[in-house]
């Protein structure tokens, strides 16, 4: 059976503002004013990227490829999580697939009725009552009046704002507006649902309800494309993952595969500038070894782990230390280890390697990042510190020695414990 969505070499270009020339003489300025309407006209015409690329005019430099040669396929029933940093092209991809904007080149074939939800409450008007907005918003999302009539009670039930149904929406609290809007969207019945980061609305109780609804939708065999920065949500909802980076696809596959790529790329781009370069001090390598001494990138829960940091400090740094922060995939700091904590002060000036040992990695399955810093570790600006990071994966194992294997939803950290029941 052919895939329900197939995307082939999809690209989308946007024109970004080119730098203005600044006149330096009065004559130049006067000329500039006279020429301005013509220049503006050509600039406004230039907003239409599709036309200018046909004519071949316009320099390459002010064209931004929000999507470049993106190809992938989605099978019926897949729940696909799309992840990537801001500006990676996620929203542009969704916009092209939901026909809001046209691709510059390439094509996509969609074999089913699509509803897209890029914003909660599109078409809501503050002067209309809740009831009227349900109809307005519903028809904009592609429902017919009949369909809305049929689901109206359900929608109102879901939104929990029955009492205010005939009050103009402008008198609603923002939470109420969002609840009503989401309630409408949640009752769409398309074959393919495209959802941008819109679920993070309302209070905790309502968010849970939305998540539950999303789970039911994804289990009902519908195809869902889902953009989110909320990684636990992606892990819970999605069956496949696509990671985007700078307008291109950097990983397609299972959710952990895509997440691993996203986490690595998001960390590396954030910290690469931090390393101290002036004196060519650097961390030359970080190596992770398992109990047998093999170099690894993934270990099992509860295994021991050796961290070997190879570094170079040209400027002579006395008393330098090693500090390692362990962060989870959302970049939350879990714990810190380091030589400076236990007081093993390094007095040598020619050291170039430090080995740390974790007797047991008490982490739930998932992807983690170690941020390694070597130096005096003082907070003063200008102190010599080099930093680098490494990502590693923790795989599930029989950590508890019992019935259950560790799972990330019980929290990122594991702890051993023993239990005695008594009367």
């Amino acid at each position: 059976m052919s895939p329900i969505i197939s995307v082939e070499n999809l690209s989308k270009a946007y024109r970004i503002g080119a730098k203005e020339e600044v006149p330096d003489t009065l004559v130049g300025a006067a000329k500039g004013i006279l020429k301005a309407p013509f220049k503006n006209l050509s600039r406004l015409r230039g907003l239409d990227t599709s036309a200018s690329s046909d004519e071949g005019s316009g320099s390459e430099s002010d064209i931004l490829w929000a999507l470049k040669d993106v190809s992938f396929e989605v099978n019926e029933g897949d729940v696909v999580g799309i992840i990537g940093r801001n500006g990676a092209g996620k929203s542009t991809l969704l916009k092209v697939l939901s026909r809001i904007t046209e691709p510059t080149s390439g094509r996509a074939v969609i074999r089913g009725r699509v509803s897209s939800l890029l914003e909660v409450g599109t078409g809501f008007h503050p002067e209309l009552t809740g009831r009227e907005n349900v109809y307005m918003n519903g028809t904009i999302l592609g429902m017919t009046k009949k369909e809305i009539d049929r689901k109206f009670d359900e929608i109102v039930d879901f939104s929990e704002i029955e009492k205010f149904l005939d009050t103009p929406a402008k008198r609603y609290s923002s939470g109420m507006q969002v609840r009503l809007a989401f309630a409408v969207a949640a009752h769409l019945d398309p074959e393919i649902l495209i959802v941008d980061e819109v679920l993070a609305v309302g209070d905790l109780e309502f968010q849970k309800k939305c998540l539950g609804k999303m789970k039911r939708v994804s289990r009902s065999g519908r195809t869902v494309l889902f953009v989110s920065h909320n990684i636990p949500m992606i892990e819970q909802l999605c069956t496949r993952g696509i990671a985007l980076k700078n307008g291109g696809i950097s990983a397609v596959g299972t959710v952990p595969e895509a997440l691993a790529d996203y986490c690595v790329s998001s960390v590396s781009s954030r910290y690469s500038t931090e390393s101290f370069n002036e004196t060519s001090d650097q961390i030359r390598g970080i190596d992770l070894r398992d109990a047998l001494g093999n170099s690894v990138s993934s270990i099992q829960c509860g295994d021991s782990l050796k961290i070997i940091v190879d570094y170079r400090l040209n400027s002579i740094v006395e008393k330098h230390q090693c500090c390692i922060e362990v962060n989870d995939s959302l970049d939350r700091k879990l714990f810190t280890i380091g030589s400076f904590l236990s007081g093993e002060v390094n007095r040598g000036e020619s050291c170039s390697k430090v080995v740390g040992t974790l007797p047991s990695v008490d982490l739930a399955p998932g992807t983690y990042t170690m941020k390694v810093r070597i130096g005096t570790l003082a907070r003063n600006v200008g102190e010599c510190t080099v930093a680098d990071h490494i990502s590693f994966e923790v795989k599930t194992a029989d950590y508890y020695g019992g019935l259950r294997a560790p799972d990330s939803f019980r929290g990122p950290m594991l702890a051993r414990s023993s239990w005695v029941f008594s009367e």
Binding site: T49, V109, R111, E119, T122, R222
Partner: protein, 291 residues
Amino acid sequence: MSTIDAQTDSDATDVASRSNYELIIEPRKGLQLFDWKELVAYRDLFRFLIWRQIKVRYAQSAIGIGWAIIQPLFSMLVFTIIFGNLAKVDSDGAPYALFSLAALLPWTYFSNAITDGVQSLVSEANMLRKIYFPRLMLPLSAVAAKLVDFGIAAVMMVVMMIVFQYPPSIQIVALPLAIIVMLITASGVSVWLTALAVQYRDIKHGMNFLVQLLMYASPVVYAASIIPEKYRLLYAINPMVGVIESFRAAILGTTSIPWDLLGVGFLSGTILLITGLAFFRSKEKIFADVA
């Protein structure tokens, strides 16, 4: 739980019935026709858009729908005083108040419809960026929503004729034709200007000015009969000339229906609408990017 199960069942049948639906997204080249099937599928949205505009326009206003009467009424008063009494413009034998009101009826509709139509896409820019629907719905619903005001102004016309004890002529049977040309023209101009206004905000700034110029280029305060005979067909390329003169002839019966003017207006109006639709269609794909 039972409701959810029932829902899933109905989904299954829905899915089966739509299984041969296929949508291809790729850059469009050249001239494209509108997807009429799609426009029909979205007819409920069209209705709600019209209804929303009517409802929202007069929300939280004391006079409410009365504004639809005030505008032509006061224009009529001003015109009657200045052009009828002071400048003594020839009104083909009818009372000047009725003469100008018969013209203001289509003219007020036309000017409001194009002003609203042009605003429609720009003011709903956020919607354009967030959801797909046939974009043509926005200017056309704005044009259609103004028909309510037109209807109210028509009632006022009837009242004025009773006040002036001026019976309508038999030619009133031709009025629907003039209304059709009026709708075609308003839609054509709206579609053209809307598509331009998304990209060039100059249209928005020039709109008031344009409407005023057009009013003097149409026989609103004067009769088309003051235009020299040999230029009259050229003059009628402005479709509102034929529309306004036909309104006067149909309602007041001062002249016979100017079929030549209305015919030329119908032609140029239709050309305006067809080219407008083609232009709109070609620009439609960039609305979300430039709005």
